[in-house]
Protein backbone atom coordinates (compact mmCIF):
# COMPACT_ATOMS: atom_id res chain seq x y z
CA UNK A 1 0.00 0.00 0.00
CA UNK A 2 2.82 2.36 0.74
CA UNK A 3 4.86 3.75 -2.08
CA UNK A 4 8.28 2.72 -0.84
CA UNK A 5 8.53 -1.05 -0.56
CA UNK A 6 11.29 -2.25 1.76
CA UNK A 7 13.81 -4.63 0.27
CA UNK A 8 13.30 -8.35 0.47
CA UNK A 9 16.95 -8.75 1.44
CA UNK A 10 16.55 -7.16 4.87
CA UNK A 11 13.64 -9.00 6.45
CA UNK A 12 12.24 -7.86 9.73
CA UNK A 13 12.02 -10.13 12.74
CA UNK A 14 8.29 -10.55 12.14
CA UNK A 15 8.94 -11.79 8.63
CA UNK A 16 11.61 -14.22 9.77
CA UNK A 17 9.32 -15.64 12.45
CA UNK A 18 6.46 -15.88 9.97
CA UNK A 19 8.60 -17.67 7.42
CA UNK A 20 9.86 -20.16 10.00
CA UNK A 21 6.31 -20.89 11.14
CA UNK A 22 5.19 -21.18 7.53
CA UNK A 23 8.00 -23.64 6.83
CA UNK A 24 6.88 -25.74 9.81
CA UNK A 25 3.27 -25.62 8.57
CA UNK A 26 4.16 -26.61 5.02
CA UNK A 27 6.60 -29.31 6.11
CA UNK A 28 4.17 -30.97 8.50
CA UNK A 29 1.40 -30.69 5.89
CA UNK A 30 3.69 -32.60 3.51
CA UNK A 31 4.12 -35.24 6.19
CA UNK A 32 0.34 -35.42 6.60
CA UNK A 33 -0.14 -36.36 2.97
CA UNK A 34 2.87 -38.67 2.70
CA UNK A 35 3.11 -40.55 5.99
CA UNK A 36 2.40 -44.24 6.06
CA UNK A 37 0.71 -44.27 9.45
CA UNK A 38 -2.82 -43.03 9.78
CA UNK A 39 -2.56 -41.79 13.36
CA UNK A 40 0.67 -39.97 12.63
CA UNK A 41 -1.09 -38.08 9.86
CA UNK A 42 -3.61 -36.75 12.38
CA UNK A 43 -0.82 -35.80 14.78
CA UNK A 44 1.16 -34.00 12.08
CA UNK A 45 -2.06 -32.17 11.30
CA UNK A 46 -1.92 -30.82 14.86
CA UNK A 47 1.59 -29.47 14.22
CA UNK A 48 0.52 -27.87 10.96
CA UNK A 49 -2.54 -26.20 12.47
CA UNK A 50 -0.54 -25.00 15.45
CA UNK A 51 2.07 -23.42 13.21
CA UNK A 52 -0.72 -21.77 11.24
CA UNK A 53 -2.12 -20.37 14.48
CA UNK A 54 1.34 -18.89 15.10
CA UNK A 55 1.21 -17.36 11.63
CA UNK A 56 -2.12 -15.73 12.49
CA UNK A 57 -0.59 -14.36 15.68
CA UNK A 58 2.29 -12.81 13.75
CA UNK A 59 -0.22 -11.29 11.34
CA UNK A 60 -1.92 -9.63 14.37
CA UNK A 61 -5.08 -11.75 14.05
CA UNK A 62 -5.14 -12.86 17.66
CA UNK A 63 -8.76 -13.90 17.94
CA UNK A 64 -8.59 -16.00 14.79
CA UNK A 65 -5.44 -17.64 16.15
CA UNK A 66 -7.13 -18.71 19.36
CA UNK A 67 -10.22 -19.89 17.53
CA UNK A 68 -7.92 -21.90 15.29
CA UNK A 69 -6.28 -23.51 18.32
CA UNK A 70 -9.62 -24.22 20.00
CA UNK A 71 -11.56 -25.56 17.04
CA UNK A 72 -8.94 -27.10 14.77
CA UNK A 73 -6.40 -28.42 17.23
CA UNK A 74 -8.96 -29.11 19.92
CA UNK A 75 -12.06 -30.33 18.14
CA UNK A 76 -11.33 -31.24 14.54
CA UNK A 77 -8.28 -33.38 15.17
CA UNK A 78 -10.01 -35.19 18.04
CA UNK A 79 -12.96 -35.83 15.72
CA UNK A 80 -10.57 -37.21 13.10
CA UNK A 81 -8.90 -39.46 15.66
CA UNK A 82 -12.33 -40.75 16.70
CA UNK A 83 -13.11 -41.43 13.07
CA UNK A 84 -9.84 -43.33 12.67
CA UNK A 85 -10.61 -45.43 15.73
CA UNK A 86 -14.24 -46.12 14.84
CA UNK A 87 -13.37 -47.35 11.35
CA UNK A 88 -10.88 -49.77 12.92
CA UNK A 89 -8.06 -48.46 10.79
CA UNK A 90 -4.72 -50.20 11.03
CA UNK A 91 -2.77 -48.51 13.80
CA UNK A 92 0.71 -49.40 12.63
CA UNK A 93 2.38 -48.94 9.32
CA UNK A 94 -0.02 -49.51 6.43
CA UNK A 95 1.10 -49.96 2.86
CA UNK A 96 -2.15 -49.20 1.10
CA UNK A 97 -2.83 -45.63 2.16
CA UNK A 98 -1.91 -44.25 -1.24
CA UNK A 99 -3.98 -44.74 -4.31
CA UNK A 100 -2.60 -45.97 -7.61
CA UNK A 101 -2.53 -42.55 -9.25
CA UNK A 102 0.12 -40.99 -7.05
CA UNK A 103 2.22 -39.82 -9.98
CA UNK A 104 -0.71 -38.06 -11.63
CA UNK A 105 -1.66 -36.48 -8.31
CA UNK A 106 1.90 -35.24 -7.80
CA UNK A 107 1.98 -33.76 -11.31
CA UNK A 108 -1.35 -32.00 -10.77
CA UNK A 109 -0.27 -30.68 -7.37
CA UNK A 110 3.07 -29.43 -8.73
CA UNK A 111 1.29 -27.71 -11.59
CA UNK A 112 -1.14 -26.10 -9.15
CA UNK A 113 1.70 -24.94 -6.93
CA UNK A 114 3.63 -23.57 -9.90
CA UNK A 115 0.69 -21.61 -11.29
CA UNK A 116 -0.40 -20.25 -7.91
CA UNK A 117 3.06 -19.24 -6.72
CA UNK A 118 3.93 -17.62 -10.04
CA UNK A 119 0.69 -15.62 -10.16
CA UNK A 120 0.92 -14.59 -6.51
CA UNK A 121 4.55 -13.54 -6.68
CA UNK A 122 3.95 -11.63 -9.88
CA UNK A 123 0.83 -9.92 -8.60
CA UNK A 124 1.81 -8.97 -5.06
CA UNK A 125 5.53 -8.30 -5.36
CA UNK A 126 5.09 -4.69 -4.31
CA UNK A 127 2.42 -5.26 -1.66
CA UNK A 128 3.68 -4.30 1.76
CA UNK A 129 2.05 -3.33 5.00
CA UNK A 130 3.53 -2.58 8.40
CA UNK A 131 1.94 -4.66 11.11
CA UNK A 132 0.01 -2.80 13.77
CA UNK A 133 -1.13 -4.75 16.81
CA UNK A 134 -4.73 -4.63 17.95
CA UNK A 135 -6.44 -4.99 14.60
CA UNK A 136 -7.63 -8.52 15.24
CA UNK A 137 -8.33 -8.32 18.95
CA UNK A 138 -11.43 -9.99 20.31
CA UNK A 139 -13.12 -6.69 21.12
CA UNK A 140 -12.87 -5.25 17.63
CA UNK A 141 -13.74 -8.51 15.95
CA UNK A 142 -16.71 -9.06 18.26
CA UNK A 143 -18.06 -5.60 17.55
CA UNK A 144 -17.68 -6.27 13.84
CA UNK A 145 -19.38 -9.68 14.02
CA UNK A 146 -22.33 -8.50 16.05
CA UNK A 147 -22.81 -5.19 14.24
CA UNK A 148 -22.04 -5.64 10.57
CA UNK A 149 -22.00 -9.38 10.07
CA UNK A 150 -24.79 -10.38 12.40
CA UNK A 151 -27.08 -11.78 9.69
CA UNK A 152 -24.51 -14.24 8.27
CA UNK A 153 -23.65 -15.12 11.87
CA UNK A 154 -27.24 -16.12 12.60
CA UNK A 155 -27.54 -17.98 9.30
CA UNK A 156 -24.40 -19.87 10.27
CA UNK A 157 -25.94 -20.90 13.58
CA UNK A 158 -28.89 -22.41 11.68
CA UNK A 159 -26.43 -24.19 9.41
CA UNK A 160 -24.60 -25.62 12.41
CA UNK A 161 -27.90 -26.87 13.83
CA UNK A 162 -28.77 -28.50 10.53
CA UNK A 163 -25.34 -30.15 10.37
CA UNK A 164 -25.73 -31.40 13.93
CA UNK A 165 -29.13 -32.96 13.21
CA UNK A 166 -27.83 -34.40 9.96
CA UNK A 167 -24.86 -36.01 11.68
CA UNK A 168 -27.14 -37.53 14.34
CA UNK A 169 -29.57 -38.89 11.74
CA UNK A 170 -26.73 -40.30 9.67
CA UNK A 171 -25.06 -42.05 12.56
CA UNK A 172 -28.13 -43.52 14.25
CA UNK A 173 -28.74 -47.12 13.37
CA UNK A 174 -32.24 -47.59 14.75
CA UNK A 175 -34.00 -45.39 12.20
CA UNK A 176 -35.75 -47.43 9.53
CA UNK A 177 -37.34 -46.01 6.39
CA UNK A 178 -41.08 -45.46 6.75
CA UNK A 179 -42.16 -47.46 3.73
CA UNK A 180 -40.41 -50.59 4.90
CA UNK A 181 -42.87 -53.38 5.64
CA UNK A 182 -43.29 -53.93 9.38
CA UNK A 183 -41.10 -56.70 10.55
CA UNK A 184 -41.84 -59.19 13.27
CA UNK A 185 -39.59 -57.47 15.83
CA UNK A 186 -41.11 -54.04 15.29
CA UNK A 187 -44.63 -55.45 15.55
CA UNK A 188 -43.58 -57.22 18.70
CA UNK A 189 -42.64 -53.86 20.20
Amino acid sequence: MTAAVPSYLSPTVQEIVFLLLGAVAVGSALLVVTTRQLVHAALWLVVSFGALAGCYLVLTAEFVAWVQVLIYVGAVVVLLLFGIMLTRAPIGRAADLDSGNRIVAAVVALATAGVLVAVVVDGFRTAYTPLQPGGGAAGELGASVFRTWVLPFEALSVLLLAALIGAIVLSRTDIKPDDAPPTVESRGK
Binding site: V33, C55, V58, V76, L97, S99, V108, A127
Partner: protein, 154 residues
Protein backbone atom coordinates in the same frame (compact mmCIF):
# COMPACT_ATOMS: atom_id res chain seq x y z
CA UNK B 1 5.26 -7.64 6.33
CA UNK B 2 5.43 -8.45 2.65
CA UNK B 3 2.10 -9.91 1.55
CA UNK B 4 3.93 -12.32 -0.75
CA UNK B 5 5.06 -14.46 2.18
CA UNK B 6 1.63 -15.49 3.50
CA UNK B 7 0.32 -15.76 -0.05
CA UNK B 8 3.09 -18.16 -1.05
CA UNK B 9 2.73 -20.23 2.12
CA UNK B 10 -0.99 -20.55 1.52
CA UNK B 11 -0.47 -21.48 -2.15
CA UNK B 12 1.93 -24.26 -1.09
CA UNK B 13 -0.50 -25.51 1.57
CA UNK B 14 -3.31 -25.54 -0.97
CA UNK B 15 -1.37 -27.60 -3.49
CA UNK B 16 -0.33 -30.03 -0.75
CA UNK B 17 -4.02 -30.42 0.01
CA UNK B 18 -4.74 -31.04 -3.67
CA UNK B 19 -2.10 -33.77 -3.71
CA UNK B 20 -3.59 -35.36 -0.61
CA UNK B 21 -7.12 -35.37 -2.01
CA UNK B 22 -5.97 -36.95 -5.26
CA UNK B 23 -3.41 -39.42 -3.95
CA UNK B 24 -4.85 -40.82 -0.74
CA UNK B 25 -7.15 -43.83 -0.57
CA UNK B 26 -8.40 -43.67 3.00
CA UNK B 27 -11.45 -41.41 3.26
CA UNK B 28 -10.33 -39.89 6.55
CA UNK B 29 -7.01 -38.88 5.01
CA UNK B 30 -8.91 -37.23 2.17
CA UNK B 31 -10.92 -35.27 4.75
CA UNK B 32 -7.65 -34.17 6.40
CA UNK B 33 -6.39 -32.90 3.05
CA UNK B 34 -9.61 -30.94 2.56
CA UNK B 35 -8.97 -29.33 5.93
CA UNK B 36 -5.48 -28.36 4.76
CA UNK B 37 -6.96 -26.64 1.70
CA UNK B 38 -9.47 -24.75 3.84
CA UNK B 39 -6.64 -23.58 6.11
CA UNK B 40 -4.74 -22.28 3.12
CA UNK B 41 -7.78 -20.19 2.20
CA UNK B 42 -8.00 -18.93 5.79
CA UNK B 43 -4.40 -17.77 5.77
CA UNK B 44 -5.06 -15.84 2.56
CA UNK B 45 -8.14 -14.21 4.06
CA UNK B 46 -6.31 -13.08 7.17
CA UNK B 47 -3.30 -11.79 5.24
CA UNK B 48 -5.38 -9.74 2.85
CA UNK B 49 -7.54 -8.43 5.64
CA UNK B 50 -4.38 -7.15 7.34
CA UNK B 51 -3.03 -5.72 4.10
CA UNK B 52 -6.20 -3.86 3.12
CA UNK B 53 -6.86 -2.63 6.70
CA UNK B 54 -10.51 -3.50 6.34
CA UNK B 55 -12.49 -1.44 8.81
CA UNK B 56 -15.29 -4.03 8.91
CA UNK B 57 -12.78 -6.86 9.35
CA UNK B 58 -14.45 -8.82 6.58
CA UNK B 59 -11.49 -11.12 6.06
CA UNK B 60 -11.11 -12.19 9.67
CA UNK B 61 -14.85 -12.60 10.20
CA UNK B 62 -15.06 -14.70 7.06
CA UNK B 63 -12.15 -16.76 8.42
CA UNK B 64 -14.17 -17.47 11.56
CA UNK B 65 -17.14 -18.45 9.40
CA UNK B 66 -14.97 -20.76 7.29
CA UNK B 67 -13.63 -22.42 10.44
CA UNK B 68 -17.18 -23.07 11.65
CA UNK B 69 -18.29 -24.38 8.27
CA UNK B 70 -15.22 -26.62 8.14
CA UNK B 71 -16.13 -28.09 11.52
CA UNK B 72 -19.71 -28.74 10.36
CA UNK B 73 -18.46 -30.26 7.12
CA UNK B 74 -16.07 -32.53 8.96
CA UNK B 75 -18.78 -33.70 11.35
CA UNK B 76 -21.10 -34.60 8.50
CA UNK B 77 -18.25 -36.14 6.51
CA UNK B 78 -17.24 -38.38 9.39
CA UNK B 79 -20.88 -39.40 9.93
CA UNK B 80 -21.07 -40.40 6.27
CA UNK B 81 -17.76 -42.27 6.55
CA UNK B 82 -19.01 -44.16 9.61
CA UNK B 83 -22.29 -45.07 7.86
CA UNK B 84 -20.21 -46.26 4.92
CA UNK B 85 -18.03 -48.33 7.20
CA UNK B 86 -21.10 -49.89 8.85
CA UNK B 87 -22.52 -50.94 5.49
CA UNK B 88 -19.43 -51.84 3.50
CA UNK B 89 -16.74 -52.63 6.09
CA UNK B 90 -14.31 -50.44 4.19
CA UNK B 91 -13.40 -46.77 3.88
CA UNK B 92 -11.20 -47.31 0.85
CA UNK B 93 -12.21 -44.88 -1.87
CA UNK B 94 -10.75 -47.01 -4.64
CA UNK B 95 -13.08 -49.87 -3.76
CA UNK B 96 -16.26 -47.78 -3.72
CA UNK B 97 -17.09 -47.83 -7.40
CA UNK B 98 -20.78 -48.66 -7.43
CA UNK B 99 -21.53 -45.51 -9.40
CA UNK B 100 -18.86 -46.18 -12.01
CA UNK B 101 -19.56 -47.35 -15.53
CA UNK B 102 -19.65 -51.11 -15.46
CA UNK B 103 -17.65 -51.39 -18.66
CA UNK B 104 -14.71 -49.72 -17.00
CA UNK B 105 -13.73 -53.09 -15.59
CA UNK B 106 -12.01 -54.97 -18.42
CA UNK B 107 -15.09 -56.87 -19.59
CA UNK B 108 -14.75 -55.83 -23.22
CA UNK B 109 -14.47 -59.40 -24.41
CA UNK B 110 -16.47 -61.12 -21.69
CA UNK B 111 -20.10 -60.20 -22.51
CA UNK B 112 -19.73 -61.82 -25.92
CA UNK B 113 -18.41 -65.06 -24.59
CA UNK B 114 -21.65 -66.55 -23.19
CA UNK B 115 -23.48 -65.30 -26.27
CA UNK B 116 -21.00 -67.08 -28.51
CA UNK B 117 -21.16 -70.15 -26.35
CA UNK B 118 -24.91 -70.46 -26.62
CA UNK B 119 -25.08 -69.62 -30.31
CA UNK B 120 -22.06 -71.63 -31.31
CA UNK B 121 -23.91 -74.96 -31.69
CA UNK B 122 -26.44 -73.39 -34.07
CA UNK B 123 -23.69 -71.70 -36.00
CA UNK B 124 -21.87 -74.96 -36.17
CA UNK B 125 -24.97 -76.62 -37.60
CA UNK B 126 -25.13 -74.00 -40.34
CA UNK B 127 -21.50 -74.68 -40.89
CA UNK B 128 -18.04 -73.31 -40.39
CA UNK B 129 -16.44 -70.04 -39.35
CA UNK B 130 -18.30 -67.31 -41.28
CA UNK B 131 -21.43 -67.35 -39.05
CA UNK B 132 -19.27 -66.91 -36.01
CA UNK B 133 -17.71 -63.71 -37.40
CA UNK B 134 -21.18 -62.47 -38.26
CA UNK B 135 -22.15 -63.39 -34.76
CA UNK B 136 -19.31 -61.31 -33.41
CA UNK B 137 -20.36 -58.35 -35.54
CA UNK B 138 -23.92 -58.66 -34.25
CA UNK B 139 -22.57 -58.76 -30.74
CA UNK B 140 -20.61 -55.59 -31.33
CA UNK B 141 -23.63 -53.89 -32.85
CA UNK B 142 -25.77 -54.88 -29.90
CA UNK B 143 -23.15 -53.60 -27.52
CA UNK B 144 -22.79 -50.27 -29.30
CA UNK B 145 -26.58 -49.93 -29.39
CA UNK B 146 -26.72 -50.57 -25.69
CA UNK B 147 -23.99 -48.02 -25.12
CA UNK B 148 -25.82 -45.47 -27.27
CA UNK B 149 -29.03 -45.99 -25.32
CA UNK B 150 -27.11 -45.61 -22.12
CA UNK B 151 -25.58 -42.40 -23.43
CA UNK B 152 -29.06 -41.17 -24.32
CA UNK B 153 -30.26 -41.99 -20.86
CA UNK B 154 -27.51 -39.87 -19.43
Amino acid sequence: MHIVYPAVVSALLFSIGVYGVLARRNTILVLMSVELMLNAVNLNLVAFDVWLRDRLHGGQVLTLFVIVIAAAELGLGLAIVLALYRNRRTVDIDRLRDLSEKEYVPVVAEPDTPELAEREPGAGAEGGRPPSTGNGAAGTAARSGERASRGGAQ
